[in-house]
Amino acid sequence: MIAVENLSVVFNAGTPLERRALRGVSLALADGEFVCVIGSNGAGKSTLLGAIAGDVSAASGRILVAGQDVTRQPAEARAQHVARVFQDPLAGSCGNLSIAENLALAAGRGSRRGFGNALRRERAEMLHARIKELALGLEDRLDQPMGSLSGGQRQALSLVMATLAPSSVLLLDEHTAALDPRNADFVLDLTRTLAARFGLTVLMVTHSMRQALDLGTRTIMLHEGQILLDVSGEHRSKLTVEDLIDAFRKARGEELAEDRLLTS
């Protein structure tokens, strides 16, 4: 379970460029909850994920992961409980390490890294099995460099990598945005499958209102660093994309003319 309490994030504090990216956001995720986060550009979606992961430091407020206050912990310390997939398929893996080595690295997330072989037999077998499930034919190419894969393949592997070690929360930052529609669907399906199989707690940022309502158990809309809408359960299942746009419109107090949100 993770909780964000009255979290504020300020970029370039004390300069003319000061920007308050998050303004007192409070949010609690129960175990196994799959939360989709939407909002326009600059609403604070990625900042929220960054703050939970430890890439962005909080100006005030607290972040609790697995019952611990991690607000002052660096990203590498939080990684024990926080798994992530980045938007850029190249960001989440090492192109010049082999596929197997990338997987082994991710399998070691959260545990002490010793001097034993990173690709010892039982682990190599486990990794092979996990990749075979994808049915992408990659299990026979585990020795090849990660850089030889396409963006879609790399992102699918990044997702698998994020589920190799246990986590309190999986952060997905528009992880299908850089992919073509076919690959995006594949990765999205995989997300659904893995989340259900491991009972993951997921916080997923998306640009698509459709996705935000179809996927997961709860939808949150951010606007100018604040939570505008937070729906789940029955209320959410009745909600349509039009309702979301209405809510958004009301908040903005203006017509949403050519926003990206409408088109996706």
Binding site: S93, C94, A118
Partner: protein
Amino acid sequence: MSQIALVGAVELGLVYALVALGVYLSFRVLDFPDLTVDGSFPLGAAVAATMIVSGFDPWLATFVAIIAGGLAGFATAFVSVRFGVLHLLASILTMIALFSVNLRIMGRPNVALLTQETVLTPFLDLGLDDLWVRPLFLAVIVLVALIGLAWFLRSETGLAMRATGANPRMARAQGVRVGAQVIAGVMLSNALVSLAGALFAQTNGFADVTSGVGTIVVGLAAVIVGETVMPSRRLWVALVSCIAGAVIYRLAVQLALSADFLGLQASDLNLATALLVLVALVLPKLRGRALGRRARA
């Protein structure tokens, strides 16, 4: 080229193979251009020579030299990681500082070891030809370093170190303490280079404060020559290629120096090395550009 010159070149190549492994670790694995080695090579020589002359066991002296190299690496990496000083600049500062440190350790610009007992003495006493004992001894040391390094880089910690150099953001997201990895890697790199310095002093019979000049370029040359001769993505091949590169480089230098028609002098060595490294660095780029042109046409 005489047999003595040939074997001598191989011997020196094997000493610099340790430097090449160290440089591979900092440059290639960690992506941390580290000029500290110009100081840690003579540091190893100075520590080992001074201790041996003072009557310490040569193995202990060599061991302390390795530790000293590690500390030099720590100084560079700590300044860079903890205070955000540019890695290149941090390493230059340590390198410059080490010049004074090395003079302090030896108390004079050079120390002769010719009549002293070194790690090689027991092997020389076996009655084998001196000419072959030294390269054989060094080959064993290099082999041990190779196996150790290959084993380390394939371990969980070693993999974390490789990820640190390749994609620090990803490494952090996987829970790797990136700063600690950089410090550990640069320490290990300089420990290897310092070991090379200690062995250089003992095989050549002296330690000299200026013997470190250009160590980084020679190490880099060895790495690049090795990569050119044995291109491979496999880790252990890459490590072997560093060793091969160092030996080939030394042989090439010896060949160039003994070929009278070239008119090269020993003092031209640094210029030739710099040009060699430059060519090796530029060639792949030019080749890539030519391929690009052909693809477009």
